[in-house]
Symmetry: C2
């Protein structure tokens, strides 16, 4: 069985990441969602190992200490992180694990896990982004402005991603995501085992000549 990959998806707020990820998960059996570890208490209906891995502060800190998280961050007193072991198990089972995460976290992941495939989702233009954010109708102008100012910070790190995924039409966007992931799997960084095999065969041959 072919090994899976870790797919990190980031993008501007309003670019449609969430919708894209949901669609990928329901359309393809090959994708699985990464499950985060958190110190926050479970809410009603949440199941340990489904929405989150719920742990104590001690367990969380211990996991951090032994390098067991691909990235982690704290929001309003609660810590959240991505357990490396869960990702690795899924990948070993042939799943492409999707991690939807903001830019700083994505770059943390890339450092620890260089074979991660980083996709940055963006609308075709910022005017389109603004239109989508405003079109939701639920957001005050101030909130929309805040999101676009945040995009201005994120765009600076866009060139650290493997692929820019323009989300104009959702179906096309998903087809492209799959295409980029398939291509990225054929990059040397994700084929060290294959290259090693060739090298060993070639060494064996050289000795025989």
């Amino acid at each position: 069985m072919k090994k899976g990959a870790l797919i990190v998806i980031s993008g501007f707020s309003g670019a449609g990441k969430g919708t894209l990820v949901k669609k990928m998960l329901s359309a393809y059996d090959r994708f699985a969602l990464s499950i985060s570890m958190t110190t926050r208490a479970p809410r009603e209906g949440e199941v340990n190992g489904r929405e989150y891995f719920f742990v104590t502060r001690e367990e969380f800190d211990e996991t951090v200490a032994k390098g067991g998280l691909l990235e982690h961050a704290t929001y309003v007193g609660n810590s959240y992180g991505t357990p490396k072991s869960y990702v690795e198990e899924q990948i070993a089972n042939g799943k492409d694990v999707i991690l939807e995460i903001e830019v700083q976290g994505a770059l943390q992941v890339k450092e620890i896990f260089p074979e991660a495939i980083l996709l940055f989702v963006t609308p075709p233009s910022i005017s389109e982004l603004k239109k989508r954010l405003t079109g939701r109708g639920t957001e005050a102008e101030e909130v929309v402005n805040k999101r676009i100012l945040r995009a201005a910070e994120e765009v600076v790190l866009m060139d650290r991603y493997d692929y820019i995924l323009v989300n104009d039409d959702l179906d096309e966007c998903m087809a492209n995501a799959v295409k980029y992931i398939d291509a990225a799997k054929c990059a040397p960084v994700r084929n060290e085992h294959f290259i090693k095999g060739l090298k060993e065969e070639l060494e064996g041959f050289s000795k025989g000549v």
Copy 2:
């Protein structure tokens, strides 16, 4: 019109690069072959600007001096090189320009032209490579051995390529080549103009807030 890209194709002797390139050129209008510049005299039937750009030693050296070649090398007293201007014209016309070249030249190109897309063609294994080289029937054992020893030198630089293109079935191999090229075109390094556009829009917005 969308800009084209420079596609550099290398690979082990016997991997089927030549056949692949011919097939890509005949199957897709979007591909064009890079034309080399050479100091060698034209042979009968060869046309300047079709097989090669035939130039004098002085013209060649002058082109090198002003950085006009993406790579160059000398074989048995004749110099050969890839004119940057021809590649750039074709790309501006929307063509994906294919340059079939050995590993050292490919890496020279990548240095001068970082947005070049580098594909490394290999059979699924070295035993398969040997079978293909031997199967040609025309090569003495010594020649086959020499080619495989050369592969042992080339494999070391395989990880500098963008994609490993396994040539098992030729049609599948071509389909994958196209897929990888399409994906690579969405990498940030090949979308500086798009990213710049987003940044400018965002700056304009930030000033307005």
